[in-house]
Homo-oligomer: 358 residues x 4
Amino acid sequence: MTRIASVQRVAMRHPGDVAAVAALLDTGLDPRSIVAILGKTEGNGCVNDFTRAYAVQALCVMLATRLGSTVDEVAARVAMVMSGGTEGGLSPHFIVVSVSETQVPPTGALAIGTAFTRDFAPEEIGRRAQVEATATAVRAAIDDAAIDDVHYVQVKCPLLTSERIAQARAPVATTDTYASMGLSRGASALGVAVALGEVAGVTDDAIGADTSLYSGVASCSAGVELTRNEVVVFGNSHAWAGDLRIAHAVMQDGIDLPAIHAALRGAGLDPGGGQLAPDQAARLVALLAKAEPSSTGRIRGNRHIMNDDSDINATRHARALVGGVAAAATGCTDLFISGGAEHQGPDGGGPVAVIARR
Amino acid sequence: MTRIASVQRVAMRHPGDVAAVAALLDTGLDPRSIVAILGKTEGNGCVNDFTRAYAVQALCVMLATRLGSTVDEVAARVAMVMSGGTEGGLSPHFIVVSVSETQVPPTGALAIGTAFTRDFAPEEIGRRAQVEATATAVRAAIDDAAIDDVHYVQVKCPLLTSERIAQARAPVATTDTYASMGLSRGASALGVAVALGEVAGVTDDAIGADTSLYSGVASCSAGVELTRNEVVVFGNSHAWAGDLRIAHAVMQDGIDLPAIHAALRGAGLDPGGGQLAPDQAARLVALLAKAEPSSTGRIRGNRHIMNDDSDINATRHARALVGGVAAAATGCTDLFISGGAEHQGPDGGGPVAVIARR
Amino acid sequence: MTRIASVQRVAMRHPGDVAAVAALLDTGLDPRSIVAILGKTEGNGCVNDFTRAYAVQALCVMLATRLGSTVDEVAARVAMVMSGGTEGGLSPHFIVVSVSETQVPPTGALAIGTAFTRDFAPEEIGRRAQVEATATAVRAAIDDAAIDDVHYVQVKCPLLTSERIAQARAPVATTDTYASMGLSRGASALGVAVALGEVAGVTDDAIGADTSLYSGVASCSAGVELTRNEVVVFGNSHAWAGDLRIAHAVMQDGIDLPAIHAALRGAGLDPGGGQLAPDQAARLVALLAKAEPSSTGRIRGNRHIMNDDSDINATRHARALVGGVAAAATGCTDLFISGGAEHQGPDGGGPVAVIARR
Amino acid sequence: MTRIASVQRVAMRHPGDVAAVAALLDTGLDPRSIVAILGKTEGNGCVNDFTRAYAVQALCVMLATRLGSTVDEVAARVAMVMSGGTEGGLSPHFIVVSVSETQVPPTGALAIGTAFTRDFAPEEIGRRAQVEATATAVRAAIDDAAIDDVHYVQVKCPLLTSERIAQARAPVATTDTYASMGLSRGASALGVAVALGEVAGVTDDAIGADTSLYSGVASCSAGVELTRNEVVVFGNSHAWAGDLRIAHAVMQDGIDLPAIHAALRGAGLDPGGGQLAPDQAARLVALLAKAEPSSTGRIRGNRHIMNDDSDINATRHARALVGGVAAAATGCTDLFISGGAEHQGPDGGGPVAVIARR
């Protein structure tokens, strides 16, 4: 038996609308094959963005009915990664990732590996312990899926809450629960970097501070429901079948169109004079990128106002910008652009991965 | 004597910072030669955006000192066109436009013509009378500057206030003062379209309603301080000298990178594989574009959320998107992307003009 | 058997948190007795506020488990009225309303009546047909519950969608789906006013236009899931038992503290020198009020900026203001202040109802 | 000669509208007598609120013309204290404070004293050196004006910029320029507290951290244009004449109506059953209060969402709330409610001062 990955991108009409995912099941997708659902929902992508939890609840209720299981069982089985914020022209959508087996021989194709760390003690979050456990999990996922080249690593990681801080048996990395999200994402991204040899070693002090250390393939999000890290590694493997392929590049800043072009070309698409023609765009399965405002307040020397805007959060500006640049490259707006890029690409830039059909 | 136009793009650190414009005067620009100053300020670009008036006040105070005149005289002499909103990665900046005379023979170059309509009665605003008077003024400006091909027409137009509505001697187009801004912009844009033969004729009912009627070069803004229309026409003329050249194209939607490429190429710049290389970008003098959300709620079939977002105004999303696409093309973020595009390009799209140095 | 109403106010930690409602069931509340759940959720209360639907989904999933029924059955059985927006100091909470029977003799107490209109044709929404059908339903609910004096009428009403407009067999009141929400709320409020004799008769033209016509007890919200009006009437009845009592007053503007005091006193609470003392506040069961910006742009002659703020929707400012005034009167912040008050109280003001325990 | 203070509250139609201040000059106010102008402008009150600077520029340009001096001379002579944010129902306005001399004998009345600290080194800002210098200046202002009882101390203080941090000869309190505003305000407030004996002594560590230390009369704002602290002390003095009187109280939380009542009564106004009657309100000259979200996330046990809202800054919610409570007490909305209350009143509360006419 050969493994084969499927990735399907479908629209949502609002955060609770899972009809298009249900339609995939109606037309043959086995719900038991689903390993992850990524979603771009239309909330603010910040603290009080409840569109993420609403979408997860709607997905879990629907899948529980289909699987004849409980909502909690679905949540434990499928990695749900909702990213809030469809600023600019971005279009809300789900990306359904599934893995099944086939009789065809391996042809070399997109491969997906998953792994989990152990549960973390509160005092380990945002520290080297989290880095190292994540690195171990990434290596396990790579081995499990026989991935030859890694292009995108989605990590869901825990955060500190007041309750967890109270339970800690040693000082925690921060007592600010919001800041703990960034530290947990950062430590997780550095774990990916260590696993892939992008970074040699990490000290506690570097986490959240040394922006020169980063992974070019990590994409991390923190969620209150977790106590461990969940890792989904996307790469290519000689041992898998199918017509999908993944590639990536690293945007050096928010307007790095050439990097997006490089990722598209790496996945076998030709942006031609700048934007994918419709026949090429039809072969684009998913574009996943990280966006963040540069901490310098500048892009190629010109001032941006993202960090000074008290009406619109800086990450919202950043997603709108990178979404515009990626839409320029692809001619599409249903792109998975997410914010919060600590140690995920260079300051003001970020990884961009492309999955395409041959 | 031959006329020669100068266009200079300078940064601002905040809406009241006119130091960079003052520096142009210090290094030789004659304040009496300035015919217009365009500015992209960092407010919300909507009703309560006071960054526009603040920048105008700061410019007028500074220029009054330099010219030995009053603030009101400066305001009457120089067309001040401030566009609020630097969403995404856009960078606040001024564009200083001046016209002087030179001994060199005409070489063919960027030419700038200005004209004014008569004062409008309140009941004429947003109606055919405004369309026709604007068309007459555009033709006069073209003749005055001997423009061969028109590529960008900036119009400042009045709006209805409660006071003006009370003074009207016939029913006004709308009693909603905010709506009057859109109708005035729309009627002005249709006046440009009529002058240039883009539209054959216009009825009162079509203004603000029939989106199939539009100008591909008009850019209009409404201001409470005006009772007439002020018109600045940008084009190329065989009778002018200098090393500047202008071209334009019409974006069919917010992600129309090929249209931006066409405008760049028309002005003599080569976007190569997608983004201007640094040597080409150094020759870009100004990019001016209109942005607006499509009324269909879709871009190439995919849903956008601009019109449904009650936290961020739809025009802010639109500027962020078009700013990202234009930054992808140019590698720059100090681009004059403005919103409110009634009859200024097709629904969801808009004109884009490029001024470049040879 | 005598009817008895129960009203319980419980906190939520986020829009999906129904634990406090579940705890009421755990401690004896019969889920079959619940007739309505009102909720104040922490979204923006405007178009893209998904906290309302999220809370409804969470309530329905939980109640379906308790009742052994489907989510749809719960939604059909219990009137779910979620009002988004907890600006200023307002505190997110649910108000669970139930009706049961008791052996004790009637003592005179809070009484609750429910009724439904027939389904509306699209062309009836926002028109006299909706006014009249609502009036009939209000009268039926009053009769059913033997209510002597009416103090608060909650109406849920439908809105126009593109689909419904396409199905209409006659011109609809508006083709703007957002505007249809206001017209539907307005027609529903006028239906309440007609039933209670507050307004003599209503023409189609007056709906949404003549602010002098209003109900002093109506509170209306529009929802896409409905095709008919659902009416819940709150009043006092000699035929009911229990220790709850309701009263109301009409705020003439957003800072009408005396009106709130009158409603508190009417329900048997004593605000003393201005604010309920803790023992009085402990007897406050619910305060329900409508808030809206005055269309004049003024409060007692002073300018407010609600209608001109493009960053924060006007209804958000209005809720924050009225929430502050009501908190001043009660010393509490878990108050049900909702926006969108077409024909629900005078321009800039609105009804305020108080339910208190004896 | 006896000193007499004048305080006049006038409306503005937008942040650049100083016509009402000019009208005061036209009707007899001597521009040389103006010592301070406070303004409540309609920006967001946060980082990118340019309405404050715009209003200051407009005031300075107008006053420079009247005084025959330069804009810089006006700025040096008059303390301009603009507070952004008129959320809820608050009304934008200026408060013009002037001091002149009169032949009448002292009657006891509102008195105003001003003083300045020396310039601070960058490393002194937000540290004990700033606390102590501020305390010295407050004492000097009190002595100068022979103030018997202090009720409101307005302090303008500097902040750290990147340039100043680079010039520092010792480590600065913070390298985060935004955070330096809070530390500078906090150190200034503690300086007031030390001068008035509200706090015994202060360590560097307590500044910005120990919320139990605070002044009940301080109101501080940080501005980039300063390098020293400017202090304006408001109190009553036996040695002054006039019909104005000031009093204050400390709100323990954002809904502390009784504290506002106490301040009103202290100044000779009678709130009666809760809200000033029109004849009493006509004698209210100014209400000045501080607002901030409680760091606990709760008000009297109920959750508020101010600190978790990524669309509306927490200080905006707080001003809306306190503005509503103060409007309930006064029946007016042109109230000077400002945010950023570090060490200015207890956590979640703040000082409230009232100036009234006898």
